[in-house]
């Protein structure tokens, strides 16, 4: 039972942390609970479908279908997280303002929620498909311990969800004027970490070169296996032995999103001012 709980916990952890960040980042957005739970449910259904077709996916693209699939999902999530941050650099102030006036619906918030719901769905799908296959394995082997193993699975899901909830509650304790700055950074690092993880899948598929097999090795301090290593992996893309190409993808993702945020922020401010002027003129 314990072994099952540990495996399930590992698979749930990453998705739960993503959900925790997304929930904090969307504080005050109209109907976000609906969007996020929709994302989770879509992810679970998708995970079941991916598990059913696991063999077909693995055989696709001359045997590297699984790697390409994982990389594609990760890069799509990176694009959406980046888009979220750019959107927030334009609308963040309105959102922080509306938080103070409690519960006000934010205009434009729902199109932005589509994107984050998809990110949640993809995180659940990627981790969930491995979970579904694992649980299927238990059910199929149908030993006398099946009941205990399912209890273990429930404990694992609960423990993973607790980590996500703890992160969410921790973030909520940040004053609302600072909250979106913090979640913005978290999402930035999340996106960069996912890009690096996607690059590793493309190396595994033998499509990208490693550009240095192992640039450093911090296994002795924080190993990839431990809880801290896994939490950091999920949050900021930590890996004890990064490839050179992973560092490159990390830096490029981080840099591009920051630059885009700056550009949009400047444009957005100018836009707001001119709109305000126009409104003032028409009022006269």
């Amino acid at each position: 039972m314990l072994a099952t709980a540990i495996i399930v916990f590992r698979e749930v952890l990453e998705a739960a942390l993503v959900v925790g960040i997304v929930l904090a980042a969307t504080r005050g957005v109209y109907r976000r609970g609906l969007w996020v739970s929709g994302g989770v449910m879509g992810g679970v259904l998708g995970a079941a479908a991916v598990a059913v077709f696991a063999d077909a996916i693995a055989r696709a693209a001359s045997g590297v279908g699984q790697e390409l699939f994982n990389a594609a999902i990760l890069f799509a999530a990176v694009l959406m997280l980046g888009w979220h941050n750019v959107w927030m650099s334009q609308h963040g102030r309105e959102l922080a303002g509306s938080l103070k006036s409690m519960g006000a619906a934010v205009r434009g918030g729902s199109s932005h929620m589509h994107v984050l719901a998809l990110v949640v769905g993809m995180a659940v799908l990627r981790e969930g498909s491995e979970l579904v296959l694992f649980l299927y394995g238990i059910a199929a082997s149908a030993s006398g311990q099946t009941g205990g193993m399912f209890a273990g699975a429930l404990v694992g899901v609960g423990a993973g969800a607790a980590f996500g909830a703890a992160l969410y509650l921790g973030l909520l304790s940040i004053p609302s004027s600072r909250l979106f700055a913090v979640t913005g950074w978290l999402i930035l690092l999340l996106a960069a970490g996912m890009a690096a993880q996607g690059a590793a899948f493309l190396v595994q598929a033998d499509i990208l070169p490693t550009l240095g097999g192992s640039v450093w090795d911090t296994t002795a301090f924080i190993s990839d296996d431990g809880i801290l290593g896994r939490v950091l992996h999920a949050l900021v893309g930590y890996t004890a032995r990064p490839y050179g190409i992973q560092l490159l993808f990390y830096a490029v993702t981080l840099g591009s999103i920051i630059v885009l945020m700056r550009i949009v922020n400047r444009g957005g401010r100018a836009g707001t001012v001119s709109t305000a002027r126009a409104t003032a003129k028409s009022a006269h």
């Binding site: 693995a58 045997g63 699984q66 299927y136 033998d206 296994t219 990839d224």
Partner: protein
Amino acid sequence: MSRILTTLTLLLAGLGAGLSCASAAAADDTFTVVIKDHRFEPSQLEVPAGKKLKLLVKNLDATPEEFESHDLKREKIIAGKGQATITIGPLKAGSYRFVGEYHESTAQGQIIAK
């Protein structure tokens, strides 16, 4: 028409020969590991260092397994009664642990690069 056919046949024959050459070359660098009763066989595998290799993992069990190795930075799901090829290396000389994540207590193995 017949000339086109001849050319096509020649081309196909050439392609076939090329492919069989390629697969023969690949076969030298392919190492096979079998999963049976949630154990790897062989559990210790000696491979040449400094070379790109292919690891063919055959899962004879009915249930899926996830081949995972932090040392090799590889993770791949292998369906029940399925198989998968994993490209690894070039490896520095040393030992590299791998496990079947779904049955970690029994499914353990090691690659030794020399």
